[in-house]
């Protein structure tokens, strides 16, 4: 068990493993997003209330999911790095932040574009929207803190603590629509029991969600490899794999 974890945390092993997985994940992502886009924009029927305007959901919901999932991945990696002193975990956390921040921006932007015609406003300070904006600022704060500390080990540890503290925002985002009266409607898919969406509309959304998630992990692995090149630049194993091409 510990041998396995130890192996997983070893940069050369990760380098080999990610080298094999990145092409697979990328192709899964391309195919699933293509299928989901066709399914969502052409095959799925229009909504009874919002007609064709609801189709932005196929980008909004997967982005919003990854903005939160990305933060959990980042915080978990940071905690593993902090507790078990695994350098690879810190590299993963550092690589994760800009990806999660990008998905947060996409979620906020698509939500805003959706909100104008449907709700009648680009932005409101309700609990769901505000807590998502706080998430974006947490990502920015994490990245700024990393950038502000020159020493890599200290940057890793300080930013890991920030990432862990910020994780409290995730359940707040998730349950904001249930705890308070918000303009944003409650959850559709993760409702206990049956999701309140027609299967013809739901299937493309789930395909899209899966495609976005593969894309997230593909980018995360590529970015972690880039982190490793910077961090392990003086290590023998890296020279060997890079030298081999």
């Amino acid at each position: 068990m510990f041998a396995f974890i130890h192996k997983l945390g070893s940069p050369p092993h990760f380098w080999r493993l990610s080298g094999t997985m990145v092409p697979w994940f990328s192709w899964f992502a391309v195919v699933l997003i293509a299928v989901g886009t066709v399914g969502g924009l052409w095959v799925a029927p229009p909504d009874y209330q919002q007609l064709d305007a609801f189709r932005i959901i196929y980008f909004h919901v997967p982005s919003a999911w990854l903005s939160q999932f990305g933060y959990v991945v980042m915080a978990a990696a940071a905690a593993v790095g902090l507790i078990w002193r695994i350098k690879l975990a810190h590299a993963v956390a550092a690589a994760c932040a800009p990806i999660g921040a990008s998905f947060t921006v996409v979620a906020l932007a698509t939500g805003s574009i959706w909100g104008k015609p449907m709700w009648g406003t680009w932005w409101v300070w309700d609990a769901r929207l505000t807590s998502t904006l706080v998430l974006l600022f947490l990502y920015f704060g994490y990245m700024a803190l990393r950038a502000a500390i020159d020493d890599e080990n200290r940057a890793d540890r300080a930013s890991a603590l920030l990432a862990i503290i910020g994780v409290i925002n995730i359940p707040i985002i998730k349950y904001s629509v249930e705890w308070w009266n918000t303009l944003h409607q409650p959850a559709t898919i993760s409702k206990i029991g049956k999701p309140s969406m027609d299967p013809e509309m739901l299937v493309p959304l789930l395909v899209m969600w899966l495609g976005f998630t593969f894309f997230f992990f593909a980018v995360l692995m590529v970015r972690t490899r880039a982190e490793l090149i910077a961090r392990e630049r003086n290590k023998k194993w890296l020279r060997e794999v890079i030298g081999r091409g």
Binding site: Q49, L82, G120, V124, N181, D198
Partner: protein
């Protein structure tokens, strides 16, 4: 205790501490985070009636009255327990219709709520128009009231 376990404990305590702090903070600010009040809460005197606030509810069927030649519209808002007459002048969002969940921002003037902004809520249900139509049909036959927008 090994150093690793100490760090594990420290991280656990940080999360627990921040979680507890956030819980108390949010509990204390609960009233401020509420995006809108319901007519029932207004009736109970919970809404800040001396300044602008938001009230949310469903637009009562057949209650929308437009004044000819102006943007003025009057309707009744309900949370199925209490009702509130609303007056609004301006452009309404696409989803504004009878039975829809909406949020009005404005102030109370006499017994009437004078809104300067109307936002439409939509619910978490997505379905094709045919399904919605057949659902409505069933509701009509069983004599239940069909509301299209949650609030």
């Amino acid at each position: 205790m090994k150093a690793r376990n100490q760090r594990l404990l420290a991280v656990g305590l940080v999360i627990a501490g921040v979680g507890l702090g956030a819980t108390f903070l949010l509990k204390a600010m609960n009233q401020n985070i509420l995006y809108y009040y319901s007519p029932t809460q207004m009736e109970a005197g919970e809404a800040p009636e001396d300044r602008r606030f938001r009230v949310g509810g469903l637009v009562v069927e057949d209650s929308i009255v437009r004044k000819e030649g102006t943007m003025e519209v009057r309707f009744t808002l309900t949370d199925e327990a209490h009702v509130l007459p609303v007056l609004y002048t301006g452009i309404l969002p696409d989803l504004f219709r009878e039975g829809q969940g909406i949020i009005a921002h404005g102030r109370l003037d006499g017994g009437q709520f004078v809104a300067d902004e109307i936002l439409a809520k939509h619910d978490e249900n997505y379905m094709p128009p045919e399904v919605a139509a057949s659902l409505e049909e069933t509701h009509k036959r069983t004599g239940q009231q069909q509301t299209t927008g949650g609030y």
